[in-house]
């Protein structure tokens, strides 16, 4: 789960990370109040994408009088597909230079990982490798001030800034641990008035750990249908094609998308119905696909723990209760295959056993319907 900048800063501020004064703004009138309270400010769109500045999502207001007009330019605008509903007004900084620092998990090393750069304010992928300092954390030891201080020296910082950097990395690692973060990132980390301050912040929390962070607000990211399907407990991603797809298991679902694309078709979604789903959840998942009005529905099942007869029953249940008004292609092999195929055959649905043949047929039917 990604947190908005203002939420990330709230968490970081509580942890003792220096952040500029700021407040949330939902209307042009509130923008005026905010600037009156904190002085010249940046009005920043609160959306879950990077590169807001370039896209016109960050503008400055020098006086309370001009703040409402500036705010209304951003509020309601479309920013890379997200509608801006909320701003964060933050005291304007006199930035002397911009740095970068983040704590994340290195998957390969299976260790927490701190990365810092003497060049901040741009995406870290675009920074020259020579300007980046990287260091793994031994989770048994954690991070003490010396850890970040050494990184600061490697970045060419010294004196106050090196000391502040050491304290900062210790705090960021504390947030990483306490909030089960996937990413704690300050970019840019500004030097203003000779001190470090977090000009922007990202905090992404591990979805699997949300149960132990009940105090954190929930930020839902996704299209309306994605949110609806995820509420059912299913992994789902909406795509822009016309062939609706259901498979069991994440890898199989990805491979099914690949197969459809391989034969020239366009997947409308990714849907993992689960590695061992029974009749009801499978029927629910299929119901979602029907509601998306695809040209074709392609069900690709390799029954391991999932039983083919359960899948067949789910298909028949959906057909009887709500109807399946588009062509349906079913590939069914594995556990209880015979029983599943027979159930479908009795209802006039023939199942495929080869994934390639089934994928090709789904693509052909979609083309026919176009």
């Amino acid at each position: 789960m990604k947190l908005y900048e203002y939420l990330a800063k709230e968490v970081l501020g509580k942890a003792g990370v220096p952040i500029p004064p700021g407040r949330v703004v939902d209307t042009p009138a509130e923008a005026k109040e905010a600037v009156a309270a904190i002085g010249p400010a940046a009005l920043k769109a609160q959306v879950l994408v990077g590169g807001r500045g370039k896209a016109g999502g960050i503008k400055f207001a020098a006086t309370p009088e001009e703040a409402p007009a500036v705010a209304s330019q951003i509020l309601g605008m479309d920013l890379k597909g997200y509608t801006v509903e909320r701003l964060y007004a933050e005291a304007k900084l006199d930035i002397e230079r911009e740095l970068y620092v983040s704590v994340t998990t290195d998957r390969g090393a299976k260790r927490p990982f701190v990365m810092a750069s003497s060049e901040g304010g741009v995406e870290i992928e675009d920074v020259d490798d020579a300007a980046i300092v990287r260091r793994h954390v031994d989770p048994r030891v954690g991070v003490l001030p010396y850890f970040g201080k050494e990184m600061a020296y490697d970045l060419g910082l010294d004196g106050t800034l090196a000391r502040e950097f050491g304290a900062l990395v210790e705090k960021l690692y504390g947030v990483y641990q306490e909030y089960d973060a996937e990413l704690v990132e300050i970019n840019p980390l500004a030097v203003a008035g000779g001190h470090l301050v977090a000009a922007d912040a990202r905090l992404n929390v591990d979805d699997s750990a949300l149960y132990r962070h009940k105090g954190l607000p929930r930020v839902d990211e996704g299209t309306p249908i994605e949110l609806k399907v995820r509420d059912l407990g299913l992994a789902f991603v909406e795509l822009d094609g016309d062939i609706a797809i259901m498979a069991n298991g994440a890898g199989m679902a990805m491979a099914t998308l690949d197969a459809v694309q391989h034969f020239g078709g366009r997947p409308k979604n990714f849907l993992d119905a689960g590695g061992g789903a029974s009749v009801e959840p499978t029927a629910e998942a299929l119901g979602v696909l029907v509601s998306m009005n695809p040209r074709v529905i392609f069900v690709n099942i390799f029954g391991g723990i999932t039983r083919c007869d359960d899948v067949a029953k789910a298909i028949l249940q959906v057909r009887e209760t709500r109807g399946i008004p588009v062509p349906l292609v079913v590939r069914l092999v594995g556990t209880n295959e015979q029983a599943g195929v027979e159930l479908l055959a009795k209802a006039g649905i023939s199942a495929y056993s080869e994934m390639a043949v089934a994928a090709k047929e789904a693509v052909r039917l979609a083309e026919e319907g176009r």
Binding site: R107, V237, L239, A250, G251, M254, A255, L257
Partner: protein, 289 residues
């Protein structure tokens, strides 16, 4: 022969009295796995599927001499279960649960490294060694057969699809191992390939990878040392960046984890990367020629 799991392992099932634990205890025993006990606090002294239930791993290890354990407890309790196993001498640990917090997984694998224990998972289908007639996992029993191919996969059902195709093509397996779909798991492709290298019966290896992370790129650096033919299938060609494709670990983030990068690295290292899952068996047959 096989890697990591042999018929000599004495296996515990943590969470055996739950639905999943019970079902898979039955399946594992039907396959031949030497399940010597189950753990279910408060139910010690009873039996499930004819297997004795113990209150703790400590009791079970003391009574049975178990050295391996498979964990079926809910994700929130997985860290506790894993540490209970590791601290009581279990040296082969299979973690089935999905949605284990990453920080818990880091703690588990770090402790396992210190103890010299092997962790498979979390979010894995487990490990099966057909020639040894034993498995620790949730994979279907009938799709494997003994033979010369080692399989290592990040995904369950996709690996079933591929293993079954191998079996139908007459290409049996030494061991099939699921690394797990999470960002942090006990095994890497390299650690598993290293085992396959020392197993004389494994004559070719199939890697089933997917988008996300750099595990495949890192593995490519090892292929020369492996010295055995590798066929790879990678899932996620049609997956957009920035979206989590079912597995917590299957996501292209900030340009890292693209299929293109993985395919290039593996191909350059001499692996045969096939585009579709149904092409794996033929490629393996050619590689074995």
């Amino acid at each position: 022969m096989a890697i990591m799991l042999t018929r000599h392992h004495k296996i515990l099932v943590q969470g055996m009295t739950g639905n999943q634990g019970q079902f898979h205890t039955r399946q594992m025993r039907a396959y031949g796995s030497n399940v010597v006990g189950g753990i279910s606090p408060g139910k010690g002294g009873t039996e499930v599927e004819g297997v004795p239930v113990f209150n703790s791993v400590r009791d079970a290890v003391r009574e049975t001499g178990a050295d391996a354990s498979i964990v079926f407890v809910p994700a929130a309790f997985a860290k506790d279960a894993a540490f209970e196993a590791l601290e009581n001498g279990i040296r082969l640990l299979v973690m089935i649960p999905e949605h284990v917090p990453v920080q818990d997984s880091i703690a588990i694998v770090t402790r396992a490294e210190d103890l010299g224990a092997t962790v498979i998972g979390p979010n894995t289908f487990g490990i099966i060694s057909p020639g040894e007639g034993t498995k620790m996992g949730i994979m279907p029993n009938h799709i494997y057969k003994p033979g010369p191919v080692g399989v290592v996969a990040r995904s369950g059902t996709l690996s079933y699809e591929i293993a079954f195709a191998l079996t139908n093509a007459g290409l049996g397996q030494t061991t099939v191992l699921g690394m797990g779909g999470d960002p942090v798991v006990g095994q890497t492709f390299i650690s598993v390939l290293h085992h396959f290298k020392s197993d004389p019966d494994t004559r070719a290896v199939v890697m089933v990878g997917e988008i996300g992370g750099r595990a495949e790129e890192e593995a490519s650096l090892y292929l020369k040392e492996l010295g055995k033919p590798v066929v790879a299938y990678l899932a996620g060609r049609a997956s957009p960046p920035g979206k989590r494709m079912g597995h917590a670990g299957a996501i292209i983030e900030r340009g890292v984890g693209t299929l293109d990068s993985k395919e290039k690295a593996l191909t350059a290292a001499g692996a045969r990367v096939v585009t579709m899952p149904w092409e794996v068996a033929d490629a393996v047959r050619e590689a074995l020629r």
